[in-house]
Amino acid sequence: MVALDINEQSGPSGGWLKKLSGATGPLIGLLALCIFLSISTDAFLSLRNGLNILDQITVLGIMAVGVTFVILIGGIDLSVGSVLALSMMVMGWTANIAGMPMPVAIGFALVASAASGLVVGLLVTVFRVPAFIATLAMMSAARGVANMITDGQQIVGFPDWFTMLAIDRHFGILTATVFLMLAVVLAAWIFLHFRAEGRMLYAVGGNPEVARLAGINTQVVTIGVYVVSAILAGLAGIVLAARLDSVQPSSGFGYELDTIAAVVIGGTSLSGGAGGIGGTLIGVLIIGVLRNGLNLLNVSPFLQQVIIGVVIVLAVGAETIRRRRA
């Protein structure tokens, strides 16, 4: 009997740490950040501040879930910030100018977002436009349409129940919008981990040819992912509208980069096929906690941008080094 000399038992073994896959580094970073801020400021470690942070990250968190899907299949989505603005303006126009009920307006906003995702998905699959270019084009086009709806003007004043979604703390803790974000994150985690469709994203991102030969319809998966990413960006727009009680076409400018940063800090590989929602949640929290903490420390917003840049490099660099050693 010739047996292979197998020296391969080593490698990641069970345990809860494994569930986070590539995100252990970022998790340690997040905890270290929290400890540092708890010691250096009085205001950081309180339930009230914690809830504030959660409120502040809802928009980013919802968008980051969609972008995680996109990056997992080896794509990129630069259009989420503009789609968010498009969704807000469609909702505002339908509700306050066309005078239709809010739920209808929200429905229209999500349909408009889904349509823009569908266009991106078709461009990427049927017309084989690189995702970077397709979503760059959509970033410009969706922003343009958002501006055209009101000729660049903002729309102010929504029903009280709508704005209360972002203010009223149920059970004294969670606002409806934070609850929505947590629900989206949980649903996405279950989807990615336990549903065949979720695992397909890993297959497509890992190697599209392998996925195709395994009988996975990679084109449908790809289109679906861009549609979901756009719908989640639209949903984030509605949350932002509730928080601001207004909509304006310049909203969400640059959000696509924050979102990609959060996903990448969370350990999802830009080359696709590796990563997950747990890491993204940590990435979002790192950005949220960092912004909050730097404000408490009275660091100027310009310096904050520099610090976030440094954090992105540190997170991704540490991960690369860790993988090379493994």
Binding site: M1, E8, H193, V210, G273
Partner: protein
């Protein structure tokens, strides 16, 4: 005899005016291993693609277990039990073994993936293949041999009744090949039909029951007896008589060009290696996969650092910090992986040759004419079947390899290192590569050839350095060297 599992009748395939398969008929019976042999371009991949459902024939019919069979997609073929295992491994490195085995058909329970069942069933298939690795482990970092077996486990989990193995041993060393063969024999005894595609004649003779030869898309001959001499089989493949595969070697001079002493790598992949190569000499380096051959020649050509030892070129000690240093001193390497390290395959042949010679052109404008002149010279000199303006990806493996060699030889190097120079290249084109290697030696170049193909090392080397687990197991002269003496040293 029992009924065949698969029958092909009059299969033809045309791409426009190009006919790649002509009227091929073939039967595969349960529990037999059929070798499909042919040069690159003979139609082997097209034929296996048709059987596995990734291509459709222009004419002809197939039956599977007595029923009409015309798969339109790979999925359809897989569902019937026909699985093609590609030459390039088709695994997802970031996912677990279990998940790779069940990709696309995850076992479900109550609408969610049943991970417990998935891991358990994958583990069963692994133990069936005598592979004792936890199925929950990530694929990344596993050896090529283990990955090859995981591909087979994947096919077994699908209840494959016909396996097509395309060059399964291309990346395997001796022990690993043995382990694979053992599994192939086991599957055969379980009644699985196997189509085995390979260029390695010794393997084909050992493992297959029957040899079917394709040439220019036609089935030209079948050998039912594995005792048929290799030469007869090869001649049937190339369609002409082979006077020689290996040219006569020139007599090396006694002037040492490269002297290596006590060379040791920082990671320990090779230790304390000492040898010299003379002008006009071809030194073969043999050893099993993982013996440190590639690592050693990478260090000699400046691609990897060393932690101890010295390299002398024409008597003078040199320090190589990068491949650029080595190239400047006249040491060039033709790397193991043509597509990843040797060529920019999407670029033109001419561009590829220019990339290695930019310094020769610098100071002048790199005009289309200058490039054309340089590239055309190389193409003609090394007998590349192609034009300088063609893309490298349009060439066959053998011609791509000639381009890689050509781009370095335009520099008149003193030492040329070739790592697996004929991997994946068909027999006809191999002879051309061997001619180039021997001609280099004739011109007084010191040549080093690393190869897993024993026949090749024995055929082209004046002396053979054998490595075993990173250590120098010995150096054999041409007279001492044969397959037994080399393998004895390699398996120390």
């Amino acid at each position: 005899m029992t009924e065949p599992v698969l029958s092909l009748r009059g299969i033809s395939k045309r791409y426009g005016p190009l006919q790649v398969l002509k009227n091929v008929s073939l039967d595969v019976y349960p529990g037999e291993v059929v070798a499909l042999l042919g040069e690159n371009g003979a139609g082997k991949s097209t034929l296996s693609g048709i059987i596995a459902g990734s291509r459709t024939p222009s004419e002809g019919s197939m039956t599977w277990l007595g029923q009409n069979y015309a798969p339109a997609t790979p999925r359809e073929a897989i569902d019937k039990g026909v699985v093609l295992i590609h030459q390039e491994l088709q695994l997802l490195p970031q996912l677990s073994i279990a998940e790779n085995v069940f990709i696309g058909r995850w076992p479900m329970k109550n609408g969610v993936i049943d991970r417990g069942q998935m891991v358990r069933r994958a583990q069963e298939q692994l133990s069936r293949l005598n592979l004792h690795i936890p199925a929950t482990r990530k694929v990344a970092g596993l050896s090529t041999a283990s990955q090859q077996l995981i591909e087979i486990a994947k096919a077994l989990a699908l209840n494959a009744r016909l396996l097509i193995l395309d060059e399964p041993t291309a990346a395997l060393g001796g022990t690993e090949t043995e382990a694979l063969f053992e599994q192939v024999r086991k599957l055969r005894s379980e009644g699985v039909g196997i189509i085995y595609i390979s260029h390695r004649m010794d393997e084909i003779k050992r493992i297959t029951d029957r040899i079917v030869v394709l040439r220019d898309g036609e089935r030209v001959q079948e050998f039912a007896d594995s005792a048929t001499p290799v030469r007869t089989i090869v001649e049937s493949m190339v369609g002409r008589s082979l006077d020689r595969l290996f040219p006569a070697l020139p007599q090396p001079t006694d002037r040492p060009v490269l002297q290596v002493s006590g060379l040791t790598s920082p990671e320990g992949s090779f230790r304390d290696i000492t040898f010299e190569v003379h002008a006009g000499e071809i030194l073969g380096i043999a050893g099993l996969i993982g013996a440190g051959r590639t690592e050693l020649v990478r260090a000699i050509s400046g691609a990897d650092p060393i932690s101890a030892g010295s390299i002398r070129l024409e008597g003078e000690e040199i320090r190589l910090r990068s491949p650029k240093d080595a190239i400047a001193k006249g040491i060039v390497m033709v790397p193991e992986d043509r597509k990843d390290q040797g060529l920019v395959v999407d670029h033109r042949i001419g561009e590829n040759i220019v990339y290695a010679n930019l310094d020769k052109l610098s100071g002048k404008w790199i005009t289309a004419r200058a490039k054309q002149r340089l590239a055309q010279k190389a193409v003609v000199k090394f007998g590349v079947k192609g034009r300088a303006e063609q893309h490298a990806s349009d060439l066959s493996g053998g011609n791509q390899q000639k381009v890689v060699i050509a781009k370095w030889l335009m520099r008149d190097p003193k030492v040329v290192v070739l790592d697996e120079p004929t991997r994946g290249i068909d027999v006809g084109a191999r002879a051309g590569i061997y001619d180039i290697i021997v001609n280099l030696a004739k011109q007084g170049v010191a040549v080093i050839v690393v190869s897993s193909d024993l026949e090749e090392v024995l055929g082209v080397s004046n002396r053979i350095l054998v490595l075993a687990q990173g250590k120098q197991a010995g150096i054999l002269s041409r007279e001492e060297a044969n397959d037994v003496s080399v393998m004895e040293l390699a398996t120390i």
